[in-house]
């Protein structure tokens, strides 16, 4: 295999097969949820609920501490569903962030040809090392034989020189082979790059956007169900009344209540205030 050349079709196929396998898990997850959403006619909200999630969790915890009874089995299930999906989305976003790492660590390392060449390189490099040490050994022995006194010494010297020459020859052969292997590895590293990154970005952007929409839909229903349950709670109604919270039983009202009670002079509450103001702007 002196010359390694892949056709564009082969490159595309190898990259495509990798994407199919690499994104198989997320495909299964989004497939399951998209089917569920579409089959049942769930609404996709216009508000980005993934940005509201921090507040939504805070609100849920606060309402739960006021009246744990509002967390019925469905709300618990939905809460856990949203959390799992959101965590998966965060983990996936992080894993897919540096495409170069995915390219080297996951893609190239999974191409048989590339792996075989790496194995060959290791093996050849090992042999090269072995011949190097044989050369050194012969060199040292020759150096130790300062004076040739007998026929046996001469024969031994000849033998050592022959061994040295053989080792040198093999060593050079290994070096040549390593050059070829490195060239092939470099070729493989470069030949897939363009196709890989083009396909990878398409797959990544697609799955992350669909997954984000799935999280958004589930978070939307969690939000609605949370307040649907909350507004039937006498404890929460009383809390609203006692706290002089005016407005509907919904996240927007609760955000306003939080903002009202913040002390923005305190540094730690400053960023929280900025976040809540942004949340309120999104809900308006």
């Amino acid at each position: 295999m002196d010359e390694l050349i892949l056709t564009q079709d082969e490159i595309k196929k190898i990259a495509h097969d990798f994407m199919q396998e690499y994104f198989a898990e997320v495909e299964e997850i989004v497939g399951f949820h998209v089917e569920f959403i579409n089959e049942n006619g769930f609404i996709e909200p216009s508000v980005d609920y993934s940005s509201l999630r921090v507040f939504l969790d805070t609100a849920a915890n606060d309402l739960k501490s006021l009246d744990p009874g509002i967390f019925n089995s469905l709300l618990i299930k939905l809460h856990s569903d949203v959390a799992s999906l959101h965590n998966y989305f965060t983990k996936l976003t992080k894993n897919l962030q540096i495409s170069k790492v995915v390219y080297v660590r996951d893609f190239l390392e999974n191409i048989k040809l590339f792996v075989d060449l790496q194995d060959d390189m290791k093996k050849t490099d090992g042999q090269k090392g072995k011949y190097k040490s044989l050369m050194l050994q012969a060199e040292n022995q020759l150096e130790a034989m300062k004076e040739i006194k007998t026929k046996e010494d001469l024969a031994k010297q000849k033998n050592l020189k022959r061994r040295y020459a053989d080792a040198l020859h093999k060593y050079s052969e290994c070096e040549e082979e390593l050059k070829v292997i490195r060239k092939k590895l470099k070729y493989l590293e470069e030949v897939f790059q363009e196709e890989f990154f083009e396909q990878f970005e398409q797959y990544r952007d697609y799955y992350l956007s669909v997954l984000k929409r799935v999280v958004n839909v589930k978070a939307y229903y969690f939000d609605k169900l949370l307040w649907y349950n909350a507004k039937d709670s006498e404890i929460i109604r009383k809390f609203f009344k006692d706290s002089k919270i005016e407005g509907d039983y919904e996240t927007k009202t609760f955000v306003k209540y939080y903002i009202r009670n913040l002390n923005i002079d305190q540094t730690k509450e400053h960023s929280w205030h900025a976040y809540l103001t942004e949340v309120l702007r999104m809900l308006d």
Binding site: I29, I43, L74, K77, S84, Y220, K224, L225, D248, E250
Partner: protein
């Protein structure tokens, strides 16, 4: 937990609650406050009214604009929130109805085509309720039972009032 499954009842509840939000974007409180004053919503909680009102439309009409055409079988009943309406037999106005009344019950009761048309007398605002309510949960079944019961009571009182005015009672 990445493949959470929901029962039909849970899905239906989520859908209902989700739609309520969509409805509230159009100011559901305002709708509910109006609806609460109507006899057909007596003894119903706000959340029950809200779920019935998922099937409600708020419509505005200009002068002489057709609201209901004769000959149709309607599953809707209407509440005149503001303005007046004309009830026409052919092209003749047989009655002008003031705001605060419910109309369109004829076709709802008999399931036969309406014999009259209704147009707006000046500008009017009408709330239309679809009575083809789908029962998705046990609690909704009770809500709809109360709603239909209220409609029956309203109709009985209307018949009683008409009979009285005609001297039958």
């Amino acid at each position: 937990m990445l493949f959470t499954k929901y029962s039909t009842e849970e899905i239906n509840l989520m859908l209902e609650v989700g739609k309520m939000k969509r409805f509230s974007q159009y100011d559901d409180n305002q709708f509910i406050q109006i609806a609460k004053k109507l006899p057909i919503f007596q003894n119903l909680k706000d959340s029950d009214i809200a779920s019935i009102m998922l099937n409600c439309k708020f419509l505005k009409f200009k002068n002489n604009q057709l609201i209901i055409k004769d000959g149709i079988v309607s599953s809707e009943i209407f509440y005149l929130a503001s303005g007046k309406i004309n009830i026409l037999l052919g092209e003749r106005v047989i009655k002008v109805v003031e705001a605060g009344n419910i109309f369109g019950l004829g076709s709802f009761v008999t399931k036969e085509p309406l014999e009259v048309s209704i147009t707006s007398h000046g500008s009017s605002a009408v709330m239309s309720f679809n009575t083809n309510l789908q029962v998705t949960t046990e609690s909704k079944a009770y809500t709809y039972f109360l709603f239909y019961k209220n409609i029956s009571k309203y109709l009985s009182s209307k018949i009683k009032s008409i009979s009285k005015s005609m001297g039958y009672i």
